[in-house]
Structures are given as structure tokens and as C-alpha cells.
């Protein structure tokens, strides 16, 4: 009988106790695990007291206050707003999972009642797939929009297509027959600005005019982007991946994945990429996809009301984001698993894969690039590689690791300076300055003037007979009579040497500018600039090795593998390996990076060089610092992120970390039935703790449960409005039955429904290793510390993070949020 009442009232918190646990304290003591140590005298009093209240309980009709409250409890509904979280607070994973299981049980139990209920249960089961499909569709569509618009606006800096204004340069000359083999972009329909304004296409005057227009458009786009971000959605700036990692680990940032952020991020991402800044769009695409996932999950109450379930959808959405960015669905799922998500159950794996496939399919059918490929730099290679080439590949890995460590250090130092000094007060000016410097320095060098994705594609493409760029101007010694498929190693012509110079300058420029660009107040990603840096370095090394093989083909290494007159070295492969090494060095991705690059290139042939380079870059990078760029930004911002990859190896005990410490004010606790509304409000107003343990009484500090501050305030407000007779001197009780009160006292307030009856407890001698493990594995927010059965203190996630920072000799005050 009692158990049924508990069940019908929808108690979410009792799922860990058995449903049959009655309300008397005696059974509660048995059920809570063997932590308690009995002091018989006090227990007798307690048991006696409960026996007496038990006899009250059996009366269902009567004139006294106790039984009337008992009747009203039957009609008690859950208070609206209880169970939600404040902004910048951590969620309680255990509570959310319990809520979800309870909901699922309720639906399942009603399933057999009627056809309508059965349909509802089917809808509930399938709503997960529906959310994920909608997210994939939206992500694919938005990625298509971003790609097409970014391409067009990028070329707007150069000129305009007069016959069809909406075409970019390549599309404008698509149908024209005036393109030549050497100049594949020249066609009369495409007019550069100098041609339109001055009337002439060549000459120093037109060069200067083009320069001025380039700078003007770059500045205009950057300025528009930062203005839109500042006015409409300040959360739309930056990459988004560090914040999404923190959100997925259980943090709440309201508005970060909202409609306005989505719209502004999409629009300003196009503007930022088009302004020529040294940034990419992969990280922001993950943010855009997660916004879509969040928005769609609000259509289904299963996901909108439960923060833990929502994060499953967000994991799937981030997989879809990476999948459309790179055209790599499997890589996207692995990226979500490795980099972004915190808890990744098997169900999420399947759903993430589905979301990534749907998104990739939608993007492919929009067909933004006209060649049915998802990414601009999809290259297919079939040339073999040789064992001696592992040495330059490992060298490229070392370069990638070194660059990654250097970039992380300098970027964090720069961001810290921006955060703490006056320099950070002028974000708009900063963006304009960075865009101006980038535009001024980038225009003269043809490799930095063009779109970074096109640069990467050009570097990845090997020089065959069909290529005519400056990078491929070798001296052809063979006459054209022999039909050759692959071109043998040849000495470099002057075009190649000048290209090498320009590429070196481009490399230095990109290395320096990316440090200042990542983190400015426009959407900025990191993947494309790092891949560009790696590709440039790789291509330079590749050409160097190629020329070395040509001029010194009698050396032992080359004689073994390279024949004279045969194709030996492919510099394009070096560019690819370099790009992967640099990206791995800065983000410290492992599996996901290998799979992304192998999906980009379409072949398993190059797995060994890629893995060698990526592993080397990770090891070299780890030698300088264990964090990737995203973890470093999380630490810079002070987010409460308990990294699952770090190990806690110190031998401290729980009593050394818990609050209150020895010299602090005693623990703020609530008693289970001896406080009034006035006292409760005083505790809440005077302290700033997020939760309060509830104990039996001040004499025996035995634990009853834990109540959250937000829930208490909402319940008190609700009681003031809805229930009559609650006054400041009303007694507040957390027990099942009201305490015995004199007859003229005001109506007591029952707050049992907001009490968490099953808080996690550890003893004070528990090693911190185990405590940290419990927090990580269960997703706890706080944990109570008991000594000999009595409540001693509280450990929160923030305390653990501060303790870890202290142990690592960092500033513990840098952990800021709750």
C-alpha cells in the first residue's frame, strides 16, 4: 500500500532505494548501506518517535493537522521548475538518468492500456531517431549553404561575374571556351574590380586597384561579422568546440546552442571565411550542428526535459558536423567519441553514425562543388611509397608536434593577455586590425591570396601531365613521343623554385597569423589553417626529397628503390602527411584523425605513413605539454571540466579536500523537521552554496538526504503562491509526515518531493583517487563525506578541480564556475 502511494506520486529519487522502502526511519537506515554505526540510545528514541508517528499514519480520517496534510499529499503534483538547472551550473547525471528511467517505466506500464497509449510508447521509442534524422538534414543543408555562400563571397574580393552575378570565379568560367591550358581561370565573363573600375586588366594601376578593393572587401566582411556577433549573439564567436566539450560533460550554458546563436554563427562564419582571415570552418560547423540538435530536441519532451538525454543528441549532432565538414562520416563519429563527448553509450554510437550519414547524404545531393565530392580537396592517389620515405614522414611528424606545442603555448599566452589586460576591451578594433594585416600581407603572395582550401587542394594534387601550375613547372627532358602515365622525376624548373620561395613565405605568414586569429570575436576554426601549414611544409619537404633523389640517384637509399627515369617520389603525399601531422600535433587527435584523412584520400595504402607521422607528432607534442588546444582553452576559461584522460595519482584523502576545512565556518545544513520557513530563507540568503545536506537533527548528525538551492527556492515560491496558510513561521519538514505541532501553529510545509533521498556518500578516509573515479564515472556533482555515520562535509566537482589544479601547482582560483 505504501509502496503504491510512493509510486503514484512520481517520486523520481527513490529509484535507488527499493520501492518498498517505507517511510519510517528504521527501514531507511537498513536500506542506505552499511555506512552507519549504531549508537543505541539515540536510535531507541528515534525508533520510538517513529512508531508514534506510525500510529498517526494509520488514521485516515481525523481532525488533526497531520492527517489532513496526508490527504492533500495525495493530490500533490510535481512543482513546475523543480529539476531544472541554473545557468553556468553542472547537471546531476544520476538524477537525470533516474528521471528518464522513471518516465520510460511509466510509459511502458501504460502501454497495454489502450491503442493511444501504445502509439505514444512507439512515438517515444522512435523520437530519438527522428531527432537525429532532423539534425542530420539540417546540418547538411546549412553546410551546403555555408559552402556555397563562402565560395561566392570569397571570390567577391577579386571581381564579379557579369553574366550571372551569383557565380564565383570557377563557376563563371565553367561553360566558357576561352580558358586555356595555362590560364585555367581566365574568361571574359569574369571581371576583376580593376577591369570594372579602371577599364584595364593588366598593369600596375590595375594591380593597385585590385589590392585596394581586396583590402576593402576583407575589412568590410570582417567588420560586418564582428558587429553582427556583438549585437545579436555574442556566444557565436570562437570555435565552439571547447564549450561544446564542457556542455557535453554536464555544464549548462544557456543560449549557447540557441536559435540566434545558430543564425548568427552561420551568417558570420561565411563572412569571416570570406574576409581572408586565417581560419577555417570545421569547428564552427560542429557548433552549428549541435545548435540544430539542441533546437530539434526541444520538439520532443523526452529530450527537452532531460539534460542527459539531450546530450546524447548533441553527441550525434557533433558527429554530423564533422562529417559535413570533411566528408568523413566515420571520422565524424570517431571525432565525437574521442574529442567531444564525455559519456558515449553504444546507442549513441549507432545514432551518431546515422546522423553523420544523413548529413553527408544531404550535402552530397546539394552538390556544392559540382563534382559530387563533399570536400574540395578530395584526392585519389595510387602511387606507391617506399620504406626510406618513412624518415621524411617522421620528420614531418616531429615538425607537426613542435608546431602544435608552439602554437598552443603562444595562442594561450595571447588569449590570456586579451582576457586580462585592457587590450581585450576593443574586440571590434582587434578584428579589424587582424583582418587588415592579413589582407595587406596576403595579397602579394598568390598562395596566400587564394582560398586556403584551394591552396590545400593544389598542394595535395600531384604534378601530372595535366597540371600546369607554377608548382609543376619541371624541366621536361623526355620528348613527347613516349606515352607515359606517370611522369618520372625531373629537375625543377624556375617555376618550382619561385613557388618554393613563395610557399616558405606563406608558411611563416600563416604560422604567425593563425596565432593571433584563433580566438578573435568571430567564428573561427583551426582545422584548415593547421592543415594548410602542414601541407605547405610537407610539399616543401617532398619537393626537396624529390630533387635529392634526382640529383643524387646514386646514393644507396635511392638506388635501392628508385630507378632512373621512373616515378619515385610524390610530393603531394608528403603534403597530405604533413597536414595530418600538424593537425594531430595541435589537437592531439589520434584515431579520428587517421580515419578522417584516410576517408579524405580514399585509400588504405597510406595508412602506415599517416600513422607514423601522427603518432610521432602526438609523442613530440606530449613531451611539451599534455593538453591539446581545446583542453588548453577549457583550462584558460576555467570551465568545470573533469578530464577523463588525466589520471589522478596523488595519495590525498577525502577529508583533505572536503568543505568545510578546519578554519572555515561549519557546514550549512538543514534539519529534517525543525526549521521554519523564515530560517530556511535565511540560510539561503546568507550563503551561496548550491545545495544543503538534510540531517535528522543537530544532535545526531545523521544524514537524510540532499536538497538543491534552486529547488528549495522554487518550492518556497510555489508554496507562497499556491498553498494557503503558509507563513514565515510555518514549519518546514522533509519527512513523510508532519511533525507533531501545537494546534494553533500555522500549516507546515512539506518539501519531501524536492529532497534527494539517495545522495552519494564516502567516508573521510576514502582515497581521492576513488573519489575522482566515482565523480568521473557517475557524473556526480557533489558527494557527501561522513565519519562514523555522521555527516562531516561535502565535496563538489569544483573542489576536486581546484584540488587537482593545486596538486599540479596551478592556480586553484582559476576554476570559476559551479
Amino acid at each position: 500500500m505504501e509502496s503504491e502511494q510512493l509510486f503514484h506520486r512520481g517520486y523520481y529519487r527513490n529509484s535507488y532505494n527499493s520501492i518498498t522502502s517505507a517511510s519510517s526511519d528504521e527501514e531507511l537506515l537498513d536500506g542506505a548501506g552499511g555506512i552507519m554505526d549504531f549508537h543505541t540510545s539515540e536510535d531507541d528514541n528515534l525508533l520510538d518517535g517513529d512508531v508514534s508517528s506510525g500510529t498517526n499514519y494509520t488514521m485516515t480520517n481525523g481532525g488533526n493537522i497531520n492527517s489532513s496534510t496526508h490527504l492533500l499529499d495525495f493530490l500533490d503534483e510535481p512543482i513546475p521548475g523543480v529539476g531544472t538547472y541554473d545557468d553556468f551550473h553542472t547537471i546531476d547525471w544520476v538524477r537525470e538518468k533516474c528521471k528518464d528511467r522513471e518516465r520510460h517505466r511509466k510509459i511502458n506500464s501504460k502501454k497495454k492500456e489502450s491503442a493511444w497509449e501504445f502509439t505514444k510508447s512507439l512515438y517515444d521509442a522512435w523520437s530519438g531517431w527522428l531527432v537525429v534524422t532532423l539534425t542530420g538534414l539540417a546540418s547538411g543543408a546549412l553546410a551546403g549553404l555555408i559552402d556555397i555562400a563562402a565560395d561566392w563571397m570569397n571570390d567577391l574580393k577579386e571581381g564579379i561575374c557579369l553574366s550571372a552575378l551569383w557565380f564565383n570565379h570557377e563557376q563563371c568560367c565553367w561553360g566558357s571556351n576561352e580558358t586555356t591550358f595555362e590560364e585555367r581561370d581566365k574568361c571574359p565573363q569574369w571581371k576583376s574590380w580593376a577591369e570594372l573600375i579602371l577599364g584595364q586588366a593588366e598593369g600596375p594601376g590595375s594591380y593597385i586597384m585590385n589590392y585596394i578593393m581586396y583590402i576593402y572587401w576583407a575589412l568590410a566582411f570582417a567588420f560586418l561579422a564582428v558587429c553582427l556577433v556583438k549585437v545579436f549573439a555574442p556566444y557565436a564567436c570562437g570555435s565552439g568546440i571547447p564549450e561544446i566539450k564542457t556542455i557535453l560533460s554536464g555544464f549548462i550554458i544557456r543560449g549557447y546552442l540557441g536559435k540566434w546563436t545558430l543564425m548568427i554563427k552561420t551568417i558570420t562564419l561565411v563572412l569571416a571565411v570570406a574576409s581572408g582571415l586565417s581560419l577555417g570552418k570545421e569547428g564552427p560547423l560542429v557548433h552549428v550542428a549541435c545548435c540544430c540538435g539542441n533546437i530539434f530536441s526541444y520538439l520532443f519532451p523526452k529530450y527537452s526535459k532531460n539534460e542527459a538525454k539531450k546530450r546524447e543528441v548533441l553527441s550525434a549532432a557533433s558527429a554530423a558536423g564533422v562529417s559535413v565538414a570533411f566528408g568523413a562520416p566515420i571520422g565524424g563519429v570517431l571525432f565525437s567519441l574521442e574529442e567531444v563527448s564525455y559519456y558515449f553509450p553504444l546507442k549513441t554510437l549507432w545514432r551518431s553514425f546515422f546522423a553523420a550519414l544523413v548529413a553527408a547524404f544531404v550535402l552530397r545531393s546539394i552538390n556544392p562543388f559540382g563534382n559530387s565530392r563533399l570536400v574540395l580537396f578530395y584526392v585519389e592517389y595510387h602511387t606507391p611509397w617506399y620504406l626510406f620515405e618513412l624518415i621524411p614522414f617522421i620528420l614531418l611528424g616531429v615538425f607537426g608536434g613542435l608546431w602544435g606545442a608552439f602554437f598552443i603555448r603562444t595562442n594561450i599566452a595571447w588569449c590570456r593577455r586579451r582576457k586580462s589586460t585592457r587590450f581585450g576591451k576593443y574586440p571590434v578594433l582587434e578584428v579589424i586590425a587582424v583582418a587588415a594585416i592579413t589582407a595587406v600581407v596576403a595579397f602579394p603572395n598568390p598562395y596566400t591570396r587564394q582560398n586556403t582550401s584551394e591552396l590545400i587542394k593544389e598542394l595535395f594534387t600531384d604534378c601530372g601531365p595535366l597540371e600546369s601550375s607554377a608548382l609543376c613547372q619541371y624541366h621536361n627532358e623526355m620528348n613527347g613521343s613516349k606515352v607515359v602515365d606517370d611522369v618520372p622525376d625531373r629537375p625543377a624548373g624556375p617555376g618550382v623554385y619561385s613557388a618554393m620561395w613563395q610557399l616558405s613565405l606563406a608558411l611563416i605568414f600563416k604560422i604567425i597569423m593563425t596565432i593571433f586569429t584563433f580566438g578573435i570575436k568571430v567564428p573561427s576554426g583551426l582545422f584548415i589553417p593547421s592543415m594548410a601549414i602542414g601541407a605547405i611544409a610537407g610539399r616543401i619537404v617532398g619537393i626537396a626529397v624529390e630533387q635529392l633523389a634526382y640529383y643524387h640517384h646514386d646514393w644507396f637509399v635511392f638506388k635501392e628503390w628508385c630507378e632512373v627515369g621512373a616515378d619515385c617520389i610524390t610530393p603531394g603525399l608528403y603534403a597530405m602527411v604533413g597536414a595530418a601531422a600538424c593537425l594531430g600535433g595541435v589537437t592531439r587527435m589520434t584515431v579520428s584523425l587517421v580515419v578522417i584523412v584516410f576517408e579524405l584520400t580514399g585509400g588504405l595504402e597510406y595508412i602506415v605513413p599517416l600513422m607514423a607521422a601522427i603518432m610521432t607528432s602526438k609523442w613530440v607534442g606530449d613531451a611539451f605539454g599534455r593538453e591539446g588546444i581545446y583542453e588548453a582553452h577549457i583550462r584558460l576559461n576555467g570551465y568545470p571540466f573533469l578530464d577523463a584522460k588525466e589520471e589522478f595519482t596523488h595519495t590525498t584523502l577525502a577529508s583533505e579536500v572536503m568543505r568545510p576545512r578546519r578554519n572555515e565556518s561549519p557546514l550549512a545544513v538543514l534539519t529534517q523537521d525543525s526549521m521554519t520557513v523564515e530560517e530556511l530563507e535565511a540560510v539561503i540568503n546568507e550563503t551561496s552554496y548550491n545545495g544543503f545536506p538534510v540531517i535528522v537533527s543537530k544532535e545526531s548528525q545523521r544524514l537524510v538526504g540532499f536538497a538543491l538551492r534552486r529547488d528549495i527556492t522554487i518550492a518556497l515560491e510555489n508554496a507562497r503562491r499556491k498553498q494557503e496558510g503558509i507563513m514565515r513561521t510555518s514549519r518546514v519538514y522533509f519527512t513523510q509526515h508532519a511533525p507533531s505541532l501545537p494546534a494553533d501553529s500555522p500549516r507546515p510545509l512539506k518539501l519531501r518531493s524536492i529532497l534527494d533521498m539517495s545522495p552519494f556518500t564516502v567516508t573521510d578516509h576514502t582515497p581521492m583517487e576513488i573519489v575522482v573515479d566515482i565523480f568521473r564515472k557517475l557524473g556526480l556533482r557533489q558527494c557527501l563525506v561522513t565519519h562514523n555515520g555522521r555527516l562531516l562535509g561535502v565535496i563538489t566537482k569544483k573542489d576536486i578541480l581546484r584540488h587537482m589544479a593545486q596538486m599540479a601547482n596551478l592556480d586553484p582560483e582559476s576554476i570559476m564556475f559551479n
Binding site: 550571372a164 563557376q171 586555356t180 553582427l228 544557456r254 543564425m263 601531365p465 510555489n718
Partner: protein, 198 residues
């Protein structure tokens, strides 16, 4: 509210320059006669490298996919009869398709959304304070500035519970005010206190 005095002049100038540019682009896009027929959206592109005395050349033609090879596309054939096979072996022919309607629609959608946002931004930053000042006087405007910051616990609870109460008339106004407050909070965290997203 958003821009200080000196910055607003810069704002005006840049907005005046870029808004009409984008507006004219949008107008021209819409007024373009859409003469791009579907047949212009497919092509077969053959790239032929230099061969003997001939320079490299690119040939394009609208043919179907089964006809996309060197013999159909390369016209006029630059080499005499016996050399055609050798020439064609070096050429690489690819069939490509694009959708110009999709591209046009996307660009128009994007530019219109961007234009609307710019107009709204101009309205919010320049016109609305001006209008409000004219209609209500100074005191009301000051009152709107200093509201949020306080973290009183019961004020938050009040907020949560009173969300349902609003009649239709000022629902839009209420929603807009709430949105503006949220953006103000976000702006404070990101730009002023550098607490998030630095």
C-alpha cells in the same frame, strides 16, 4: 549602448558603404533574366596536355555522359589521323554536373537574411534609442539599463514561475525585452568580463 561615440562614426561610414553595395548586388541578382537553361549545367571537360607541337588545350562541350570521351568532345582534332589515338590516350575527360538554380537560390537567401539582419542591427543600435528618447524621455531609458546583474535567488524563482503569465498584447514586447536582456548578459560575459569564450 553598443558603440562609443568615436566608434559610431566609423560604424556609420562602413555601414553606409557596405549596405548599398550589398543592396545593389541583391537587386541585380533578382533582376537577372534567368537564361541559364538546364543544358548549360552539364558539361564534359577534356584536358589534353601538350603533344609534339601542339600546346595543351581544354575542351568543353555539352554532351551526355556516355558520349563524354575524347573522340566526341575534342573538335576540331588538332592532330592528323594516325596520331589521334596517341593524342587521345593522354587526354583526360570528366563528366561534370552542377545546379545553377541551387547556387542562385542559396546566394539570394543568404544575402536577404544578411540584409535583414543588417537592417535590424541598424534599427536596434541607432533608431530605437532615438525613438525611445523622443517618446518617453530620458528617465525611462535609464531605467532599462540597470536591471539584470543581481543574482537574487528568489528573483530567479519568480522568473521561472511567472513565465506563463503574459497576455497577447505585450507578449511580443516581453519576448523582445527578455531576448535583449539575455544578449546583454551574454555580451557582458563574453566581451566585458571575459568569463566565457576568451
Amino acid at each position: 549602448m553598443v558603440f562609443a561615440g568615436g566608434g559610431s562614426r566609423l560604424t556609420h561610414l562602413s555601414l553606409e558603404l557596405s549596405l548599398p553595395c550589398l543592396a545593389t548586388l541583391l537587386l541585380l541578382l533578382l533582376l537577372q533574366p534567368s537564361d541559364a537553361k538546364n543544358s548549360e549545367d552539364v558539361r564534359c571537360k577534356c584536358i589534353c596536355p601538350p603533344y609534339k607541337e601542339n600546346f595543351g588545350h581544354i575542351y568543353k562541350k555539352n554532351v551526355s555522359q556516355k558520349d563524354c570521351d575524347c573522340l566526341h568532345v575534342v573538335e576540331p582534332m588538332p592532330v592528323p589521323g594516325p596520331d589521334v589515338e596517341a593524342y587521345c590516350l593522354r587526354c583526360e575527360c570528366k563528366y561534370e554536373e552542377r545546379s545553377s538554380v541551387t547556387i542562385k537560390a542559396t546566394i539570394i537567401i543568404y544575402l536577404s537574411i544578411l540584409g535583414l539582419l543588417l537592417l535590424y542591427m541598424v534599427y536596434l543600435t541607432l533608431l530605437e534609442p532615438f525613438l525611445k528618447r523622443r517618446l518617453f524621455g530620458h528617465s525611462q531609458m535609464l531605467q532599462n539599463e540597470d536591471d539584470v546583474g543581481d543574482h537574487q535567488p528568489f528573483a530567479n524563482a519568480h522568473d521561472v514561475l511567472s513565465r506563463s503569465r503574459a497576455n497577447v498584447l505585450n507578449k511580443v514586447e516581453y519576448a523582445q525585452q527578455r531576448w535583449k536582456r539575455q544578449v546583454q548578459e551574454q555580451r557582458k560575459s563574453v566581451f566585458d568580463r571575459h568569463v566565457v569564450l576568451s
